[in-house]
Every structure is written in C-alpha cells, then in structure tokens.
C-alpha cells in the first residue's frame, strides 16, 4: 500500500504534521523545564526538548547539525547538568520555593518578548525561498575546513581552555597543593 501525499482526514502534508508535533513537544517540555518543582525532572524534560529540536533540524534539512545536537546536547551537556544537580542537591535545602518573588513580572516580560518577536517576524519581508535548502555533509565540510578553518581552530583552543578551567574550578582545594 502506497503512502498518500497528504495525511488522511486533515488537509496537511506529512512534514507539516511532523513540524506541529515536534514544535508542541519542544515547547511543552521547555515549559516543563522552567516550571517543574523537581529539578531532576527539569533536567530530563530538557533532554526531551533537545531531542525534539534535533528532529526539527532534520526536518529543516541540516542532518549534520541534528547529529551534533544529539551528541553534544543530549549526550554531553544534559549528562553534565544531571551530574551537577546530583552534586548540589542536599536534603537540608528543600525546594519549597522554586521561583523568585519576581516570577510574575518575569512571566509578563517573557510574554511581551515573545509577542514582540512574533510581530517583528511577521512584519519583515525576509526574501525567503519557498522550500528549505538541504545542506549536504560534503559541502558543509568543504566550507568548514576552508573558509571557516580559523574559527574552527579557535573553538578547539576554547574547548581545551574550558576543560582545564572546569577541572581547576571544580577540584577540591584542601587535599591538593596548588
């Protein structure tokens, strides 16, 4: 049986339906990240949000960035965040007050920000093409290692500095000589 061009019963294409599902999952889990009381669950919801965003990258035609998103964000940064949560949560500091006292003004400010961005985007003519352009990995590698080779090397030095700085900041000072 052949797959139809549009989704049955609702008059939308398959990629539109995928876009809606991934957007709802991403925004919903992002809302959970900022509102849940249990911070471990916040970290897990953040992983779901990153995964949905990787799906959006595939949908928009950037598969290498999606793979890097899964590797770096879900594989590295989320695990780092979960470790930091487990290192810093104590029984003595219960999470009875999750939000600051200015949470309501912050919510209003964030809503105004989203509204402003939406209005600006709607009012601007971007000269966009009709369908997203797929970026192949070969052409991406050519541009990265030719035109952008200096930023690439600087980023590698930055990562080395971050690793050394992270070890230096997080190590215990008592049982070491420096």
């Amino acid at each position: 049986m052949a797959i139809p061009d549009a989704v049955p019963f609702i008059n939308l294409g398959w990629d539109d339906v995928l876009f809606i599902i991934l957007s709802v999952v991403m925004i919903g889990s992002a809302l959970l990240v900022v509102t849940l009381r249990d911070i471990i669950r916040c970290g897990l919801a953040m992983m779901v949000s990153f995964a949905a965003l990787a799906g959006l990258y595939v949908l928009i035609g950037a598969p290498l960035v999606a793979a890097a998103q899964v590797l770096v964000y879900i594989g590295a940064i989320s695990v780092l965040v979960l470790f930091a949560i487990m290192l810093t949560q104590t029984k003595a500091a219960p999470a009875r007050l999750v939000f600051q006292t200015q949470a309501a003004p912050a919510a209003i400010a964030a809503a105004v920000l989203a509204l402003l961005i939406a209005l600006t985007v709607g009012a601007t003519n971007w000269n966009a093409v009709a369908a997203p352009i797929r970026v192949g990995t070969a052409i991406l590698a050519q541009v990265l290692f030719d035109q952008f080779v200096l930023p690439f090397e600087i980023v590698s030095v930055l990562l080395l500095a971050a690793v050394i700085g992270g070890i230096f900041l997080a190590k215990r000072e008592k049982d070491s000589s420096i």
């Binding site: 990240v33 600051q100 964030a110 989203a114 985007v121 980023v155 990562l159 997080a170």
Partner: protein, 103 residues
C-alpha cells in the same frame, strides 16, 4: 507550515522567551543554567532556519550553528564548575542566598 521561515522564527522566539522566563524566575542556579541552554538552542534554531531559507546563507548557517554548539558546551562546562565551586563554599544552590558581596 514547515516550508515557511516565519514559523521557525516564531517558534525560536517562543523558546527564547521561555528561557528568559526561567532565567529570571528560578531560584536554583542550575535551573538558571538550563534556561540559558534553552535560549542558546533558540538562537541556534534561528541560525539554522536562516541558513535553510536564505539562499546566500546556505552552508554558512550550518557552520555557524556547529561553532555555537561547541561554544555552548564550553559555557556549560565552566558554568556548572562555578556552581559546584560556589556550592562547596556556601552549601546551597539557591542564587538569592549568595549575598557575600552585599554585606
């Protein structure tokens, strides 16, 4: 809908606003760092969307997004190390109890 730049940009704007709210409203330092990660993801989605829909930015968008990804990893490493170092001294992850410089 998935073939329009506006949809992706508005989606990124909503994600950025959610991250802003989390950064301003949460008390836990690690929650604030997670909100920063959400905002970085929103910016990355914007860059990728421009790269996919503006013909002259075709490959550069993806390259810049990859570099932003690496910088975000470095930022998370250093930020979480600082939070752990402060936690070791102050015994609390709540940012409104870090008031040493106020006295």
């Amino acid at each position: 809908m998935s073939h329009s730049l506006d949809a992706y940009l508005i989606l990124a704007g909503i994600l950025f606003a959610i991250g802003t709210f989390g950064f301003l409203a949460r008390r836990n330092a690690i929650s604030m760092l997670m909100s920063i990660e959400l905002m970085l993801n929103a910016v990355n989605l914007t860059i990728i969307a421009f790269g996919a829909f503006i013909a002259s930015l075709k490959v550069q968008g993806s390259v810049i997004a990859l570099i932003v990804l690496a910088v975000a990893a470095a930022e998370a490493t250093v930020g979480l190390s600082i939070v752990i170092a402060i936690f070791r001294n102050k015994k609390t992850p709540l940012v409104d109890e870090y008031d040493t410089m106020r006295d």
